[in-house]
C-alpha cells in the first residue's frame, strides 16, 4: 500500500482540467450537430484548435502565471498593436474589421485583448494600495481598460467591447475601491452611452432597439430573436436528441455554430442538458474562487477574479440572448462556440488559474 501520487500531479488543480476538457468536448458535439450538413468541416478545425489550446493550457500551467504577469505589459502592448492593425489593414469580414487572416485561419485579436487587459490590470492594481491616491490610480486603471474597449468598439464588435466593463468593475471592487467611486464610474458609463450609441453601426443599434421592442425589425433582428427562442424552448425538458434539432438544422437560427451554438444544445439536449452545461460553468467559476482563496499573492487573486468574471459575463450574455434576457450583441460562448481564438484564449486563461493553484506555496 505504499502507493504515492507524484508531487507534480498532486499540484495540479484537477477539477479545472477536467471541467475544461468536458466543456471543450461538449462544444465539439454541438458544433458537429450545427455544421454537419454544411461544407466547411468546422468540427475537424475545432478539434485541431482544441489540440492547440490544450498544448497552450499545459504549457501555461508548466510555465506558471508569474512569468506571464511579468510580461503582461508587453503582451498588452502587442494586443493593442494588433487591434490597431486589424482596424486599419484587415479586410472586413461580415462588415467588421475583427479578423486577421493567417493562412487558412482567422485570428480575432479582441479575444486576446480581453486576457491581456485582465493581466495588466491585475499587475497594476496589486502594485498600488487602494488607500493612497485612489482617485489617480482609478483613472489610470480606467484608461488601461478604455483603450482596448474603444478599439474593439470601433471594429465594430459591441459584444466584445462590453466584456471589458464587468472585468474592470469586479477587479476594482475586490481591490477595495471606494464605493462612492464605483457609483461615479457607473454614472459615467451611463453618461457615455449616447457616445457609444452614436458609434454603433445601424444594425447594432437595431439589435438593441429590438431587444427593447421586438416589433421594430420584423425581418431582421427580431426574427432572429424569435427563432432562437423557439429553438431553445422547443427543446423542452429532454431535448429532441443529438442532430435532431429542426430549428437550427433548417437554418432558422443564424450563425448557429458560433454565436448561437447554445440554441443547438438547448434544442437537442433540452433543459436537463443545458442545466448540466451551466453546472459545468458554475463549477469552473467556483474553482477560480477556490484558487483565489488558496493564494496569498494579490496579483494572482486579481488575475483569477478577472478570469472568473470574464467567463461569467460571456456565459450570461451569450445564453441570455438566446432566450431574450440580454440583447443580441455577437459574443461567443466560451468553449462551445466555434472559433480558434476564443478557444485558445479561454484555455490559456484557465491555464493561468490552474497554475496559481500549483504555485500557491511559493511565497
Amino acid at each position: 500500500m505504499n502507493f504515492t501520487v507524484p508531487k507534480y500531479l498532486k499540484e495540479i488543480h484537477w477539477p479545472i482540467v477536467v471541467l475544461t476538457l468536458l466543456l471543450a468536448f461538449v462544444g465539439m458535439v454541438a458544433i458537429y450537430s450545427a455544421s454537419f450538413r454544411e461544407a466547411g468541416d468546422y468540427t475537424t478545425k475545432q478539434f485541431f484548435w482544441a489540440l492547440v489550446a490544450l498544448g497552450i493550457f499545459v504549457a501555461t500551467i508548466w510555465i506558471g502565471y508569474r512569468a506571464f504577469l511579468n510580461l503582461a505589459n508587453s503582451i498588452y502592448m502587442v494586443t493593442i498593436g494588433l487591434l490597431i492593425w486589424v482596424l486599419f489593414f484587415a479586410p472586413p469580414i461580415s462588415g467588421a474589421h475583427s479578423w486577421i487572416k493567417v493562412g487558412p485561419f482567422q485570428i480575432q485579436p479582441s479575444e486576446f485583448a480581453k486576457i491581456a487587459t485582465i493581466m495588466v490590470l491585475a499587475n497594476f492594481l496589486a502594485a498600488r494600495s487602494p488607500i493612497i491616491h485612489q482617485k489617480r490610480n482609478l483613472i489610470l486603471a480606467f484608461f488601461l481598460v478604455a483603450l482596448p474597449t474603444l478599439l474593439v468598439l470601433k471594429q465594430p464588435d459591441l459584444g466584445s467591447a462590453l466584456v471589458f466593463l464587468p472585468l474592470l468593475l469586479a477587479m476594482i471592487f475586490y481591490w477595495g475601491v471606494n464605493i462612492r467611486y464605483l457609483v461615479i464610474l457607473f454614472l459615467l458609463s451611463f453618461a457615455s452611452l449616447p457616445m457609444i450609441w452614436s458609434n454603433l453601426k445601424p444594425y447594432q443599434q437595431k439589435r438593441i432597439l429590438v431587444f427593447m421592442n421586438p416589433s421594430i425589425d420584423p425581418i431582421g433582428a427580431s426574427y432572429t430573436a424569435i427563432q432562437s427562442k423557439i429553438a431553445v424552448g422547443s427543446g423542452g425538458l429532454l431535448g429532441k436528441g443529438w442532430l435532431e434539432g429542426t430549428q437550427t438544422q433548417l437554418d432558422f437560427v443564424p450563425e448557429h455554430h458560433t454565436d448561437f451554438i447554445f440554441c443547438v444544445l438547448a434544442e437537442e439536449f433540452g433543459f436537463l442538458g443545458v442545466l448540466a452545461v451551466i453546472l459545468l460553468f458554475v463549477l469552473l467559476i467556483r474553482s477560480a474562487y477556490q484558487v483565489m482563496n488558496h493564494t496569498t499573492d494579490l496579483r494572482a487573486k486579481l488575475l483569477a477574479l478577472g478570469i472568473a468574471s470574464y467567463l461569467a459575463f460571456q456565459v450570461f450574455i451569450n445564453i441570455g440572448m438566446t432566450i431574450g434576457i440580454t440583447p443580441i450583441t455577437g459574443l461567443t460562448l466560451p468553449f462551445l462556440s466555434y472559433g480558434g481564438s476564443s478557444l485558445v484564449t479561454t484555455f490559456f486563461a484557465l491555464g493561468l488559474v490552474a497554475s496559481i493553484y500549483k504555485e500557491r506555496s511559493i511565497f
Binding site: S94, P218, G233, S234, D251, I278, S309
Partner: protein, 577 residues
C-alpha cells in the same frame, strides 16, 4: 466605506453565480413551462420571410437625361417546404418551364427548404395576374415585385456608368449582412460600383404566417423598403452620344472636360458594350461575349488604358525645363534632323529628317521638334526629369471618383529593378519626347492639358455633380504663370501656324490650341494623340483624342478633334457667342 476582503469575495461570487442562476430560471421558463408551445411552433414553423427589394437610385447626366434606371418586374418564387409537387405541371405551364427544370431548381435548395427559390424572373404582368388568381390553390408559390436595372442609352457612357451584378456567395461572406443579402444586386463597375452605398436603398420585407398548405394567412410584420438615392453626373449625354460615332469601329478614347467648373463632359471609350446585358434576364450569352471579348470591350481606354504618349508629352518636358530654369522660352537648339551625344554615339532621329534648323521653344512645340527636347532632356538629366514628370501626376492615378490607372514613369531605380540594366543617357532623352518605357492614360494627358489651359486652376476632373460626394482633388501647383503662358502660346501655334503639326484641327468659330502626339509602339502602327483646349482666351473646354494604332496624331486624331470641337460648339454655341 470599505468592506472586508472576504465579504467582497462573497459579494462577487453572489453576483456571478446569481447571474447564472437567473439563466437557469429563464431557461426553465422557456423550455419547461412554455416548452410545449415552442415545440409546436418549431414543428409547424409557420413564419416566412419575404424580402422586398428596394429600388435603386437613378443615374442622370448634368441635364437630367437618364443614364441608369430601374423598371419594376415580377418574379415568381417558390418555398420548397410549402410547395406541393403535384402543382409542378400547372406552374410549369404558366411559366413555360419544363418539369425537370423546376425539380432541379427546387432540389438545389434542399438544405434551406424555407428559403424562397426563384423560379422565373421578369414574367409578364398577365402571367403574374394568372398565378395570383390561382394562388389559394398553389401553396408555396408567390409573386414578388422586384426591379430590373436598365441603361436606356446603352453603349453611351457605359464604362463610366458601369453596371450591377448579383452578389456571389464568396462576396456575401465579407459583406455586412444587414445591408446585403443572398441574391442582392451590387455595383460591379463604374459609378454603379463606387457609389453603390448611395444608390442602393434599404431592403424591406414581410414576415408572414402561412397555413399548413403554405398559403399566407396573416401578415405579422412589414418593413417598407427605403428607395436608393439618385445621382447626377457632370457628363453631357448629348455630347457623348454625338462624339461616339466619330471613333466607332476604332480602338479609341475621347475625353472632354469643362474647364469652367472642372467636371468631365464626356468620356468615350471604344469598343464599348451594352451594360443591359449584365442585368437583363436571358442575355447571359451576350454577357459572356462581352466579358471574354478579345477587343477588351470592358476596358475603359480613356481612364485605364495605358500607352506611350509620344510627342504630346513634350508639354511635360517643357514645364520641367522652364520651371528648373534649365531653359527659357528663347533658348535655341539646332536641329540637323538627328541628335548625337558625341561623335561616336548613335544618332537619335527627329521625325523631320531634313531637320528643323535652329529653333526656340515656341517653334519646337509648334513643329514638335524631337532634337530640341532631346537637348532639354539631356540638360535636365534622368533624376530631375522623372521627378518633375511625377509631380505633374504621371505614374499615379488621377483623383477621379472612379479608380483609374497610374501608369509608369521609368527611372534608373525602376529600370535596375525590373530590367536589371543600367539607365543610359539615351533613356533620358527618349523619355523627354514621351517614348522610352513611359506609359500614360488619356485621362492623365487630359489633366496635363487642363492644367496648362487653365493656367494652374484645373487639374483633376470630377464626374459627380454633387460636391459632397466628390473625392479630394489636388489644386495647388507652384508653377509660374510665365511657364503656362509659354506653353499656351506654343500650343496655339501648333494649330494656327501654317507649319504647326495640328493644323487640321483648326476651327472657324474659335482659336483652338493643342499638341499632337504620334507614339511609336512597335510592333504595329503608331498611336495617335491630340490634346487641346478652346477658346484660346478664357478657355471653356479641354479635350484629348486618342486613337490606338491611329498612325498620326496630327492627321487621325486631329481631324476627330476638329469634329469634337464642332459638335461642342453646336451644342453650346449660345454660351460661346
Amino acid at each position: 466605506m470599505m468592506l472586508k476582503p472576504s465579504i467582497r469575495i462573497y459579494v462577487l461570487q453572489f453576483v456571478m453565480l446569481g447571474a447564472l442562476a437567473l439563466l437557469v430560471v429563464g431557461l426553465f421558463q422557456t423550455q419547461v413551462l412554455r416548452g410545449g408551445y415552442y415545440r409546436r411552433a418549431s414543428e409547424q414553423n409557420r413564419i416566412r420571410i419575404i424580402r422586398l427589394e428596394a429600388p435603386r437610385g437613378n443615374i442622370y447626366d448634368r441635364n437630367g437625361v437618364l443614364l441608369a434606371t430601374s423598371r419594376p418586374a415580377y418574379h415568381v418564387y417558390a418555398i420548397p417546404e410549402d410547395f406541393d409537387p403535384q402543382d409542378i405541371s400547372t406552374i410549369g405551364r404558366f411559366l413555360n418551364l419544363s418539369e425537370v427544370k423546376i425539380r432541379t431548381l427546387l432540389s438545389q435548395a434542399r438544405h434551406a427548404s424555407f428559403t424562397p427559390v426563384l423560379l422565373k424572373q421578369d414574367v409578364s404582368k398577365e402571367v403574374a395576374m394568372k398565378i395570383e388568381e390561382r394562388r389559394p390553390g398553389l401553396g408555396g408559390i408567390f409573386i414578388q415585385e422586384g426591379f430590373i436595372r436598365s441603361y436606356p442609352l446603352k453603349e453611351v457612357a457605359a464604362h463610366l456608368v458601369g453596371y450591377i451584378g448579383k452578389i456571389s456567395p464568396e462576396e456575401y461572406k465579407n459583406l455586412d449582412p444587414s445591408v446585403y443579402h443572398y441574391g442582392s444586386w451590387i455595383g460591379r463597375a463604374g459609378v454603379e460600383r463606387v457609389f453603390d452605398a448611395h444608390l442602393r436603398g434599404e431592403d424591406g420585407g414581410r414576415q408572414l404566417e402561412v397555413d399548413a398548405r403554405g398559403v399566407p394567412i396573416r401578415l405579422m410584420g412589414e418593413k417598407e423598403p427605403v428607395p436608393g438615392k439618385d445621382l447626377y453626373l457632370t457628363l453631357d449625354a448629348r455630347l457623348e452620344e454625338k462624339i461616339r460615332p466619330l471613333v466607332q469601329g476604332r480602338y479609341a478614347a475621347i475625353l472632354v472636360m469643362d474647364l469652367k467648373q472642372g467636371g468631365m463632359l464626356a468620356a468615350t471609350s471604344t469598343p464599348s458594350f451594352d451594360p443591359n446585358v449584365f442585368v437583363t434576364p436571358g442575355r447571359a450569352k451576350e454577357r459572356l461575349e462581352v466579358i471574354g471579348s478579345k477587343q477588351r470591350r470592358l476596358l475603359d481606354r480613356s481612364l485605364n488604358g495605358l500607352y506611350p504618349p509620344g510627342s504630346i508629352f513634350k508639354l511635360a518636358t517643357a514645364i520641367a525645363g522652364l520651371e528648373t530654369h534649365t531653359i527659357t522660352p528663347h533658348t535655341t537648339f539646332n536641329c540637323p534632323g538627328y541628335f548625337r551625344f558625341n561623335g561616336r554615339s548613335r544618332a537619335f532621329k527627329c521625325w523631320f529628317h531634313e531637320g528643323h534648323g535652329r529653333v526656340d521653344l515656341y517653334t519646337a512645340i509648334e513643329r514638335s521638334c524631337n532634337v530640341y527636347f532631346f537637348n532639354v532632356g539631356r540638360l535636365l538629366g534622368e533624376k530631375r526629369l522623372s521627378e518633375y514628370v511625377k509631380k505633374l501626376g504621371f505614374g499615379s492615378p488621377v483623383a477621379l471618383e472612379l479608380p483609374t490607372a497610374g501608369g509608369l514613369v521609368p527611372d534608373a531605380e525602376w529600370k535596375k529593378k525590373i530590367h536589371r540594366d543600367s539607365w543610359y543617357p539615351g533613356d533620358t532623352i527618349t523619355l523627354a519626347i514621351g517614348q522610352s518605357y513611359l506609359l500614360v492614360s488619356p485621362l492623365q494627358i487630359l489633366r496635363l492639358v487642363a492644367l496648362v489651359a487653365s493656367e494652374g486652376k484645373r487639374f483633376d476632373p470630377f464626374i459627380v455633380l454633387e460636391e459632397d460626394l466628390r473625392g479630394k482633388h489636388e489644386t495647388h501647383f507652384s508653377i509660374r504663370s510665365e511657364t503656362f503662358e509659354t506653353l499656351r502660346r506654343g500650343m496655339l501655334q501648333v494649330v494656327q501656324s501654317n507649319r504647326g503639326t495640328g493644323q487640321l484641327a483648326r476651327v472657324n468659330f474659335a482659336k483652338l490650341a493643342a499638341k499632337t502626339g504620334t507614339a511609336q509602339a512597335p510592333p504595329g502602327e503608331a498611336h495617335a494623340w491630340f490634346g487641346g483646349f478652346f477658346p484660346y482666351e478664357n478657355p471653356e473646354v479641354a479635350f484629348v483624342v486618342f486613337v490606338e494604332r491611329g498612325k498620326s496624331g496630327g492627321i487621325t486624331a486631329g481631324q476627330i478633334a476638329k469634329r469634337v470641337a464642332h459638335i461642342y460648339h453646336e451644342l453650346y454655341s449660345p454660351q460661346i457667342s
